[in-house]
């Protein structure tokens, strides 16, 4: 991918633009040269990939690792006391600097052959314990949601960079020409912190941005003509438009962009056929829906989305991101028990269903599933019964892509405040994800304003312990 270093000409931009939504059309259009630059629907990875697709389950707001995956007996002992001086103090987002420590009220048990510790808040996930590689030593730079969510998506706490899904689309292209390569779903219509820029392409062309998919007859915004227009009028209108464009192009030779736009209308038309089919869950059996909890009130929404995620990766969509708890719902500054009880319940069965379903269909081998939020939560209490933001040490897990499950990687200190052993920064996490997709995070380069930009800001490295072991 050395050529990515060179500055793109406009023509290159079009070809590269082809990495994302509608790539085949464009590279087809641009003729032989373009096909040489963009040989197949997908682009060549740097090394043999272990995963073709990623499903990133984003628990927005920051789930409490201390109450889910990282039990801390020492914290129970220190309950009610101030953080001992032996622990390095941190900046707390809400500033209750002297608040006492708070023990977890959860019951932890070991699960699966690997004996993974998981709390009673996640009984279904616990059933998949032997598929999970639980990373207890994650850390990040953003102490607030905005910076945290931004960094977990783009590598930087400051806005403006492309999302990880955009980098993947840019680097690997798409495998389904009629669907976007990078798809995002939200469990509620409430805006995710930072809004659509979380899946934006930053300084890259917009073709690499994530596309928000919604359930229902119009999964992609503006996919269908308004009912008042109707299919017949629309068809005739498109034919007339095609005739206008054809005549216009006849006198303008060697203008690839004009052709590209003509094709983009044709692609839009094809999407109208394919996209609704993807979101049509009527084709799934009752048993499958039940597996995801899509037939129960509390788990229906996220269950359907997890099921959709499977249907998308089945069709070659490269990067699927599901936001759970949109609008920082996991942000339990007070009343952690009530907050997490409901949120855990809403996503536990769907997530486990997704893992099981991917596995039985043989899809888990080349799909990477990631679970986690922008940070974890503090051992300090807040407002008596909540916890503050903790980017200093928190848990995420990975499954699939040939990663050996049933084990934990890294650790936090005795109270779960700082990651201490095998610390894994967000950049390392991203480098690991890219590595599993066959992409070397230091070789994937996009030149912007004279700087060779890389997805992990030239930092981080793939976590050997996650990959091997």
């Amino acid at each position: 991918m050395g050529d990515d270093f060179a500055l793109p000409t406009r023509r290159d931009a079009l070809i590269r633009g082809g990495g994302g939504f509608g790539s085949v059309v464009l590279s087809y259009l641009l003729g032989r040269d373009a096909r040489a630059a963009d040989p197949a629907p997908g682009k060549a990875p740097h090394h043999k990939p272990r995963a073709k697709s990623v499903i990133f389950l984003f628990m927005e707001g920051g789930p409490s690792h201390i109450d889910l995956f990282d039990p801390k007996p020492e914290l129970t002992k220190l309950h009610g006391q101030k953080l001992p001086a032996s622990f390095k103090p941190v900046i707390l987002s809400m500033g209750e600097n002297d608040a006492p420590l708070m023990a977890s009220k959860r019951t932890f048990k070991q699960h699966g052959k690997g004996g993974l510790w998981i709390s009673d808040w996640l009984p279904h996930t616990a059933g998949c314990a032997d598929d999970l590689a639980v990373i207890r030593s994650c850390w990040a730079d953003g102490i607030n949601h905005s910076g945290g969510v931004c960094q977990m998506n783009t590598g930087s706490t400051l806005a403006g960079r492309p999302s990880l899904g955009s980098w993947v689309t840019y680097g690997l292209g798409t495998e389904n020409k009629n669907l976007p390569a990078f798809v995002v779903m939200q469990d509620t219509p409430t805006q995710v912190v930072n809004g659509p820029r979380n899946w934006g392409a930053g300084f890259m062309p917009a073709v690499h941005q994530g596309t928000r998919l919604e359930a229902g007859p119009e999964p992609i915004p503006n996919l269908n003509p308004p009912a008042v227009v109707g299919a017949d009028r629309q068809k005739a209108k498109l034919d007339y438009l095609a005739a206008l464009n054809k005549r216009h192009a006849e006198t303008r030779l060697d203008q690839t962009e004009l052709d590209a736009r003509i094709k983009s209308y044709e692609l839009a038309f094809r999407m109208q056929a394919e996209a609704p089919d993807v979101v049509d869950l009527a084709k799934e059996t009752a048993e499958t829906k039940a597996l995801y909890g899509a037939d129960e009130k509390e788990t229906e929404t996220f269950g359907r989305q997890c099921l959709l995620a499977r249907r998308l990766v089945e069709r070659g969509v490269r990067f699927v991101q599901l936001y759970h708890g949109c609008g920082s719902k996991w942000d339990s500054h007070s009343n952690l028990e009530k907050n997490h009880t409901a949120l855990c319940k809403a996503q536990d069965k769907p997530v486990a269903g997704l893992l099981r379903d991917l596995k039985r269909r043989g899809l888990l081998d080349d799909t990477l599933v990631i679970w986690g939020g922008e940070f974890g939560r503090t051992p300090h209490s807040e407002q008596g019964n909540g916890r503050d933001h903790n980017p200093y040490g928190f848990t995420m897990w990975m499954a699939g892509a040939g990663i050996r499950g049933g084990r934990t990687i890294g650790s936090t200190d005795a109270v779960g405040l700082h990651a201490v052993e095998d610390r894994l920064h967000v950049h390392d996490l991203h480098a690991t994800i890219l590595h599993l997709l066959g992409v070397d995070h230091m070789k994937l380069v996009y030149t912007h304003k004279g700087r060779p930009e890389r997805p992990t800001l030239n930092e981080g490295e793939p976590a050997e312990k996650v990959l091997r072991g």
Partner: protein, 820 residues
């Protein structure tokens, strides 16, 4: 003394009469290399002997590498073609290169001449050709070679070359002479209609109206086009258009970004200032000085105060407890945007280390940053005149008198909450900030004052949101009082987002930290540009640092400021600049395609008083600009498919604002007016006056690649996506415009359809339909009426539907979305 500081004239003389012959030879050789040798190496050699592959261990993407050679020794022996393996190979001796086929005799001769003349490789740092080939720079050093980089040398205009092609002005001399040299010819002049549409969109962002089309066609005078250009430049629409380019560069937006993304209701005053400045053709050097240091340089000029809003446009997080980190981010943002927008140098790399490729030291980054180390950001009332102030004061006094009672009641209700919450907020900062709060204000250092001010915004926020904490009866009481208060109209808030200095002493600028030992850095200009240290003259209330930076940047002999600006204007008219990387004039950027033209434009620009309108005029009245785009690539031009050498005009897509504005203009809904507070994108005003909310951009503008207002944007992406097509085809905005457009053109009596079709084509494409097109359109309309009405009677609604479909197709057509 380094070269850049020389007066322009002296520099020109020096170039014309070189002090020593070898330098001239070297210059000549460098030119020969760029024109005749480098293209051969790139096209024929670098694929196998470059950053990706190094067959035989050989690279030919830098002078150093070529001299060093491969496994078989040096490829080139300067001065001795016969002893150079490279020459043997291309002559097809024992070794035959390139393997695909022998080069042309001319190419071989060029390589021979190059080696014979000493194998000069300009800027012989490794990897002049492909950035991937760059060797890392030696940290901490700036060499003579660094200083010799084209963009750091003085602007050196040369005589306008002659050309056998018909030239209209100096631009054409440079462009056509180059085409001649490459064996290319300019395209013929575009037709009148194409020219009108092109130049109207370029200068005003709007399509020509049918009246303007008729007037231009009717004007058969020899200078009809020049008169048109003058009219467009004098139009208020020109300034609205030009403003957008500047607003892109300075990351203009009207919200904070980050989570809460709070609105910035006063930001529009800066936008209007930019529009006003372009309308008046304010000299660009003054425009820059006002924005960097209007408060220091022109304290009596209200516009110069509003201009300092430039320093306030970055993102801000309302609840960031890491105050120190946020302040550092704000200063970094100011440094980066100054580097990008004004110097045309991506300085960001040097924040953490000496720049790996460009001669920018980490010290340079912080020296640049320290020009901003005295700032204090505040919102303050700015009045256009003393009379305006007096009027506001009297209105405010009246309002205060009328509302004194109710405000006192509200205060009484809120005071306890404010007091409590503000105290709580002040207590929430981390350990490094607490002591600053504890200090008496007079005891705080300048740096502490800046941190305090930034932190205190979070305390003030509690004051503002106190009403939200009221409950029960108190809340009801507050709501009632607030309603009473709001019933008395308050005079419009005169605040602008202003930047001043804290006082005469700036905060310390520290470089390093972490593993590096922090050192204090004073203001200085980038080492590579040389020159004396800044002369900083502070005042009682200000450090004078920003004024010094502004004065330096706008020196007539500054090698970058004018070169960067004229290239941006060129880019507006051709899609790509003479330097294709408009904010990167460093070694990772592209070199100018027409360096002499760039210098000519820069020199003329400064000589003419830094005025943009004459620059636009020079460019758009050139024969180069007036070329047709509808010319197929000749075999000679196939090597330049993007027409960088300008052998034809390039067809260009409308940008985001042009698309939206043209939709509204064509539908007849566009409301033209002059600035003021921004409106939602649903309202039919020009896009430059619609709200720019960082986290919720308008979907139409965003999909057509509008700037995001987060990072400065020097060049928009131009993408073709199905999202755009879906938005225009099925989205509510496009459909509503189509309906309004239909209402505008469809015959009132339902009879004279041909007239309606003629009108529609005129509005959408700026031309009448051909006979065939008219026939097709009428057939389509007839068909749509039939589809809509089925077998039933035809109603007015069916006809409107059909006309809407027709107009909608025109608005989706390439002819509408692209300019020839």
């Amino acid at each position: 003394m380094t070269s850049y500081a020389r007066p322009l004239l002296a520099a020109a003389v020096l170039t014309a009469v070189p002090p020593a012959a070898p330098a001239a030879d070297k210059d000549e050789a460098a030119k020969f290399f760029e024109a005749s040798v480098r293209p051969i190496l790139v096209a024929q050699c670098v694929k196998c002997h470059g950053p990706e592959k190094q067959k035989g261990g050989l690279r030919l993407d830098s002078g150093e590498a070529a001299l060093k050679g491969g496994d078989a020794g040096p490829a080139v022996v300067p001065g001795k073609p016969d002893a150079s393996p490279l020459i043997h190979a291309v002559r097809y001796g024992d070794v035959q290169m390139p393997p695909a086929g022998k080069m042309s005799d001319a190419e071989i001769a060029a390589l021979e001449k190059w080696v014979k003349d000493g194998a000069v490789w300009p800027g012989a740092k490794a990897g002049g050709m492909v950035p991937a080939g760059h060797a890392a720079r030696k940290p901490g050093t700036i060499t003579d070679e660094d200083r010799a980089w084209w963009a750091f040398r003085p602007v050196a205009p040369v005589a306008v070359p002659g050309t056998r092609h018909p030239a209209r002005n100096a631009v054409d001399g440079f462009v056509f002479a180059r085409l001649e040299k490459e064996g290319l010819s300019p395209a013929p002049e575009a037709g009148k209609l194409a020219l009108l549409r092109r130049v109207t969109f370029d200068l005003t962002g709007l399509p020509p109206t049918p009246d303007e089309v008729a007037a231009f066609l009717a004007d058969t005078s020899a200078d009809a086009y020049e008169k048109l250009v003058d009219r467009l430049l004098a139009s208020p629409r020109y300034a609205e258009r030009q403003a957008r380019f500047w607003l892109d560069l300075v990351r203009y937006a009207e919200s904070d970004g980050y989570r809460a993304d709070f609105p910035r209701p006063q930001a529009w005053r800066y936008r209007d200032y930019v529009v006003r400045s372009f309308a008046a053709d304010k000299p660009f050097d003054r425009f820059v000085r006002e924005q960097l240091a209007g408060d220091e340089l022109y304290p009596a000029d209200p516009d110069a105060l509003i201009a300092t809003g430039f320093l306030r446009l970055g993102i801000y997080e309302y609840n960031q407890r890491d105050v120190r980190g946020q302040w550092a981010a704000i200063l970094n943002d100011l440094t980066d945007v100054t580097g990008d927008a004004l110097l045309g140098l991506g300085v960001g790399c040097a924040r953490c280390h000496d720049h790996k490729f460009d001669p920018l030291l980490q010290k340079d980054y912080f020296a640049l940053q320290s020009f901003f180390a005295g700032i204090a950001m505040r919102d303050e009332p700015v009045f256009a005149s003393p009379a305006a102030k007096a009027e506001y004061d009297s209105k405010l006094a009246a309002w205060e008198a009328k509302t004194a009672e109710v405000r006192a009641k509200i205060d009484a209700l809120l005071e306890p909450i404010r007091k409590k919450e503000m105290a709580v907020a002040a207590g929430k900062f981390p350990a490094d900030i607490q002591p600053i709060f504890a200090k008496a204000p007079a005891d705080r250092t300048p740096g502490e004052r800046q941190l305090y001010d930034l932190a205190y915004r979070q305390v003030e926020y509690e004051f503002d949101r106190a009403p939200a904490k009221l409950k029960g009866e108190q809340k009801a009481e507050y709501d009632r009082l607030k309603k009473e208060l709001d019933a008395v109209a308050k005079p419009a808030d005169p605040d602008a987002m202003v930047t001043r200095d804290l006082g005469p002493v700036a905060a310390e600028t520290r470089m390093g930290g972490g593993r590096q030992k922090p050192v204090t850095v004073d203001p200085a200009f980038p080492t590579v540009l040389g020159g004396p240290l800044p002369t900083i003259k502070g005042g009682e209330q200000t450090t004078g640092r920003r004024a010094a930076l502004a004065e330096w940047l706008t020196r007539p002999d500054h090698p970058l400021t004018a070169r960067v600006l004229v290239n941006r204007v060129w880019q507006q008219h051709f899609g790509t600049g003479l330097v294709a990387t408009p904010s990167d004039y460093g070694t990772l950027g592209e070199k100018p395609t027409h360096p002499e033209l760039l210098d000519h434009l820069a020199a003329e620009f400064v000589r003419g008083g830094w005025k943009l309108k004459p620059l636009h005029r020079l460019i758009v009245t050139s024969a180069t600009y007036r070329q047709s785009s509808a010319v197929p690539a000749t075999s000679a031009a196939k090597n330049d498919p993007d027409a960088r050498l300008l052998w034809r005009m390039t067809v260009r897509r409308l940008d985001a604002e042009q698309v939206r504005d043209a939709l509204l203009a064509t539908s007849g809904e566009l409301k033209l007016d002059a600035g003021g507070p921004s409106v939602p994108a649903g309202e039919p005003r020009r896009s430059v006056f619609t709200k720019v909310i960082r986290n919720t951009p308008d979907p139409l503008l965003a999909s057509f690649d509008a700037a995001d207002g987060i990072l400065g944007c020097a060049k928009r992406n131009v993408t073709v996506t199905p999202t755009q097509s879906l938005l225009l085809l099925n989205g509510g905005f496009g459909l509503a415009r189509a309906k309004a457009f239909a209402t505008r053109v469809m015959p009132a009596d339902g009879k004279d359809a041909p007239e309606g079709v003629r009108k529609a084509f005129g509005l959408a494409f700026g031309r009448p339909p051909t006979a065939v097109e008219a026939e097709e359109a009428l057939a389509f309309l007839k068909g749509q009426v039939k589809v809509a009405s089925g077998n039933g009677p035809v109603t007015a609604a069916h006809r409107l539907g059909a006309w809407t479909d027709f107009c909608h197709a025109l608005l989706n057509a390439n002819e509408f979305l692209y300019v020839d």
